[in-house]
């Protein structure tokens, strides 16, 4: 007879890492794994069977000592920087234009050429926005399930589809222009060239964002701007040609890094077989695709209204307004600092949910939901207050540095600074709705906001001056923020359910 008990029957406290057995059968299995067969149980311990021995020694566990693994301590600054990294490329281009008068697009160009470049740039965003959103959603889903092979395959196919869309869009645009005669030759080809080059760049950036290589995007943009400077100042090329070379360099760098990272991550993944695009996948992704299109239409609607206002005497039906653009660029500096809050707030939101779920029981659902509800309101207020303060500081600095010489510029800057915090609030709401897999609310809000943006911007710019199109942007942002906030507050009362449903 043995006196020493097997390991599994020793105490589960005092440094022994084993979890308490859940029931008798659990203990019996543990005994068998420790080598206590029926015969050993009989010969060494005096029990007929292992199960009987387990019954004799089983005690229901008093306490669940299991603790979730502690999460890594979060660093606010890193999260904040990660949040603003999405806007870094556009910020770099805007700063480069303001300071050096050259950038990846825009700069010191004749008005007609600038108009063509602007059209190409805007159309590249709109053409690829939806594709990037859908592709990212699908790829992130596959990465989350651990299927890197399928994720790499999906990214590749979506990128090819995006490139095809860019080309088809260019052909349709050319045909539209040929029919309506809006842009004369060679401005139409300038617009097409920028559209294609930037479209491919955005597609590559989209893949890098999925792979969390945001820094690479910023670095590639810097390389691109440097290339533009080299071509123009070093080789004396025309600014447009230099920019096309610079964009090509940036796109190539982004694409190369994206391919390399994807290959390395999917190298060990098993070859899998799955549909790239079928009706079900289209149905699941169409909300995100639509959001991508709506969002970029919204972002550029006010510019479109400003460019097409009062152009009867102009050489083109749309005229790029340098002062309008400068005013928006200055306001965007504040926006970049505000948008960092979106990412940190998303993480805070999920942290609140995680800790709340680990604290509240199923009898305390209302307390849990209320906690989230009030956290949301507090954070929303913080975002708006920060937005107002940063906007005020930006305006003050711009005035102090004499960056706003004209009344139109001042008006545009002020009004857009009022609009950007609202847009940030709306983007935060959007992020949370997507995380909870509730895109419908976002789509309705975005569509209404877009209509308000267009309508207000159109009427005000036609009745007043072109700079008043910016009121459409601010009104639209306000509507976007209000609608998404209202809808989210309705969801917040049952966030426990939505959190579960989103994990499905």
């Amino acid at each position: 007879m043995r006196t020493e008990l097997p390991d599994c029957l020793k105490s589960t406290t005092g440094g022994n890492a084993r979890k308490p057995a859940l029931d008798v059968y659990d203990l019996a299995v543990r005994l068998e794994l420790d080598g206590i067969t029926d015969s050993v149980a009989w010969h060494d311990y005096g029990y007929r069977t292992t199960l009987l021995m387990a019954k004799a020694h089983f005690h229901p566990p008093l306490d669940d000592e299991w603790k979730e693994k502690p999460k890594e301590k979060r660093k606010f600054i890193l999260e904040y920087l990660s949040g603003i990294s999405f806007a870094i490329p556009v910020l770099l281009c805007a700063l480069s234009t303001l300071v050096y008068k050259l950038s990846l697009w825009g700069g010191d160009l004749a008005y007609d050429t600038a108009s063509a470049v602007a059209i190409g740039t805007v159309s590249s965003f709109i053409a690829t926005g939806g594709i990037i959103q859908a592709s990212a959603r699908r790829s992130l889903f596959l990465i989350h399930t651990g299927d890197w092979g399928a994720a790499a395959d999906t990214c590749r196919k979506w990128s090819m589809l995006g490139a095809a869309v860019v080309v088809i869009w260019a052909i349709c645009g050319w045909a539209f222009n040929a029919y309506f005669g809006l842009l004369p030759f060679p401005l139409d080809w300038v617009a097409i060239a920028f559209h294609c080059a930037l479209g491919l760049l955005w597609l590559a950036c989209g893949v890098l964002y999925v792979l969390e290589q945001n820094i690479v995007v910023g670095a590639a943009v810097v390389c691109g701007i440097a290339t533009v400077a080299l071509c123009k100042l070093g080789f004396g090329m025309h600014l447009v040609a230099s920019q096309l070379v610079g964009i090509s360099v940036t796109a190539s760098v982004c694409a190369a890094v994206a391919i390399a990272v994807m290959r390395s991550k999917s190298k060990r993944a098993a070859k899998t077989d799955g549909a790239f695009l079928n009706t079900r996948i289209i149905h699941l992704l169409i909300p995100f695709f639509t959001y991508g299109c709506l969002y970029y239409l919204f972002l550029f609607a006010d510019r479109w209204m400003a460019w097409t206002a009062r152009t009867n005497a102009a050489s083109l039906p749309f005229q790029f307004r340098g002062d309008y653009e400068t005013g928006l660029d200055i306001a965007m500096i504040a926006f970049v600092f505000q948008v960092g809050w979106v990412h940190t707030s998303m993480l805070d939101f999920y942290e609140r949910i995680r800790t709340g779920q680990a604290t509240y029981s199923v009898d305390e659902v209302r307390d849990f939901n209320d906690g989230i509800y009030f956290f949301y309101l507090r954070r929303l207020a913080a975002i708006l207050i920060f937005g107002a303060l940063s906007g005020w500081l930006t305006y003050y600095a711009a005035e102090h540095l004499h960056l706003l010489p004209t009344q139109a510029m001042r008006e545009v800057t002020l009004v857009s600074l009022a609009g950007y915090p609202l847009l940030v609030a709306a983007l935060w709401n959007t992020g949370m709705f997507f995380a909870l897999s509730r895109p419908r609310s976002v789509l309705i809000s975005a569509a209404v906001a877009l209509c308000v943006n267009f309508a207000a911007g159109y009427l005000l710019s036609r009745v007043g001056g072109y700079q008043q199109a910016v009121y459409g942007f601010t009104a639209g942002s306000g509507v976007f923020a209000c609608l998404t906030t209202w809808m989210f507050l309705q969801h917040a009362r049952s966030i426990d359910h939505h959190h579960y449903a989103s994990s499905a």
Binding site: Y179, T279, A314, S315
Partner: protein, 481 residues
């Protein structure tokens, strides 16, 4: 020539889409209307024209008749048409959309869409075929002039062109119902007002003939009555009916709507009222053409009454004789009154249109008699010739250091080598020139002589002047920046 045909196709397509195809599709999308397209066509057209007319007039009065807003309102109108054409207000119920979407998915998955690509044989009755041929022939004959000429025959056409172009560019506009409803046609076709007015003329006359035929059908119920009406109307419009210019003005368009009103009176008094309103909006004055068209209808009905009571052999003979008679008469059709034009050389109109098309917008100036302004309005700049000569006499132009104060890349100066023969011509309304130079031979000759002298003086002192176009009647100088 290809360009001309392309322009015609664009105008026809634009008018067809805006007034016929899209409203019909929207009306058929609902489930209220169970009848065929024929019974839906005229009401749909009238509703749409009324909506577009009101929209354009209201927006035009606010200087907001611009592409974006007009297209948006038109889209809303189509949406409203779909809603009103539905018995159940499914548009309000999001679930109905989802059900419709799922039915569409089933329809697509089961391959029912292939049915639309199956070739079908359609039987067309002989009478309908003849009627269609008459209308087609009529439209071809009406089209002959616009296809071969850029210039207009009547001053009212120039006035309509300027009015339409003013409307669609958001400038201060005095309401003109005869052009308001053409605003979306200008936007959708991507053409200028002059081209749209030019090609809409034959379309209106064809529609007048078709409307008369339809009206006759409403009262007689017989296709042959329509054929007789169409033939008589066609003959009338090509001989006596048109007010001197061969181009429809407000009165002719008003007559068209009134004919439709008469046709609707029997079965749809509501649409008769709509047509009458449209006629009033287009031109409040009474159009004498209406009586003539109604007379053609009455005569056609009489002919048909006799025809229908004749023996079969005689009927066929009578029909053939009638059609032959129409054909012979049209071949030798004489105008009762000559047109009040021409107001410019054909070459002037053609070259002015070409410049407006080929050169960048608002980067050129046209210096010419007043009527070329119709082609350049809001696409470039126009300076009336006498005004130009007053500002820049030959003495000034002969100075080698003289430069034109215009911010443009090119200045085109139209000089008539052989002054346009004209007496009693009207000047383009709103033009800055004096009517003396346009209504008398001596005035015109004096203006052109001064112009020739001025250009000779400028050319001798400056090297940036060249001849852009020259024929036996006209010379156009180009002064490049």
């Amino acid at each position: 020539m290809l360009q001309v045909w392309l322009d015609l196709i664009r105008v026809v397509l634009a008018m067809g889409l805006v007034f016929v195809a899209l409203p019909l599709l929207a009306a058929k999308a609902g489930d209220k209307w169970q009848g065929g397209i024929g019974s839906l066509l005229v009401p749909s057209i009238l509703r749409t024209v009324l909506a577009v007319e009101f929209t354009a007039i209201i927006l035009g009065s606010w200087k907001l008749c611009l592409p974006g807003i007009v297209v948006s309102i038109y889209a809303l109108w189509l949406g409203a048409t779909v809603v009103l054409a539905s018995r159940r207000r499914w548009i309000y119920d999001p679930k109905s959309w989802a059900v419709g979407y799922s039915k569409f998915l089933l329809w697509a998955a089961q391959g029912h869409w292939r049915e639309y690509f199956v070739a079908r044989v359609i039987a067309i009755p002989q009478a309908s075929l003849i009627l269609s041929l008459i209308l087609a022939s009529a439209s071809v004959q009406y089209l002959w002039y616009p296809l071969t000429n850029y210039r207009f025959q009547g001053i009212q056409s120039y006035a309509r062109v300027v009015s339409l172009q003013t409307l669609v560019t958001g400038n201060a506009w005095s309401a003109d119902g005869s052009v308001a409803f053409l605003a979306p046609v200008v936007f959708l076709s991507g053409l200028d007002a002059a081209t749209v007015i030019r090609f809409s003329s034959p379309i209106f006359f064809t529609m007048l003939v078709a409307a008369a035929a339809w009206c006759a059908y409403q009262y007689s119920g017989a296709t042959w009555c329509s054929i007789f009406t169409a033939g008589l109307c066609w003959l009338y419009t090509r001989t006596y009916g048109i007010d001197s210019t061969g181009e429809p003005g407000g009165l002719e368009i008003s007559a068209l709507f009134l004919v439709l009103a008469v046709g609707c009176l029997r079965r749809s008094p509501g649409y008769a009222v709509i047509a009458a309103i449209l006629a009033w909006l287009t031109e409040p004055k009474y159009p004498t053409l209406l009586l003539s068209v109604l007379g053609c209808i009455f005569i056609a009905m009489l002919i048909h009454w006799v025809y229908s009571r004749s023996p079969r052999m005689l009927r066929q003979f009578a029909a053939t004789a009638f059609l032959l008679g129409i054909g012979v008469s049209l071949n030798s059709a004489l105008r009762s009154q000559p047109a009040d034009g021409p107001y410019e050389y054909e070459a002037s109109a053609r070259i002015a249109s070409r410049i407006a098309r080929d050169f960048p917008r608002n980067r050129w100036v046209l210096v010419s008699p007043a009527h070329e302004a119709a082609y350049s309005f809001s696409r470039g700049w126009h300076v009336e010739l006498t005004e130009f000569l007053r500002q820049f006499p030959a003495s000034k132009l002969s100075n080698p250091h003289f430069q034109f104060p215009y911010e443009s890349d090119n200045i085109f100066v139209f000089v008539e080598k052989r002054p346009l023969p004209q007496t009693g011509r009207m000047i383009l309304p709103g033009s800055s020139g004096s009517s003396f130079f346009y209504s008398t031979m001596s005035g015109r000759a004096s203006m052109e002589f001064d112009a020739a002298r001025a250009m000779a003086a400028y050319s001798s002192a400056h090297s940036n002047s060249s001849v852009y176009f020259e024929d036996q009647d006209l010379i156009i100088y180009r002064i490049a920046k």
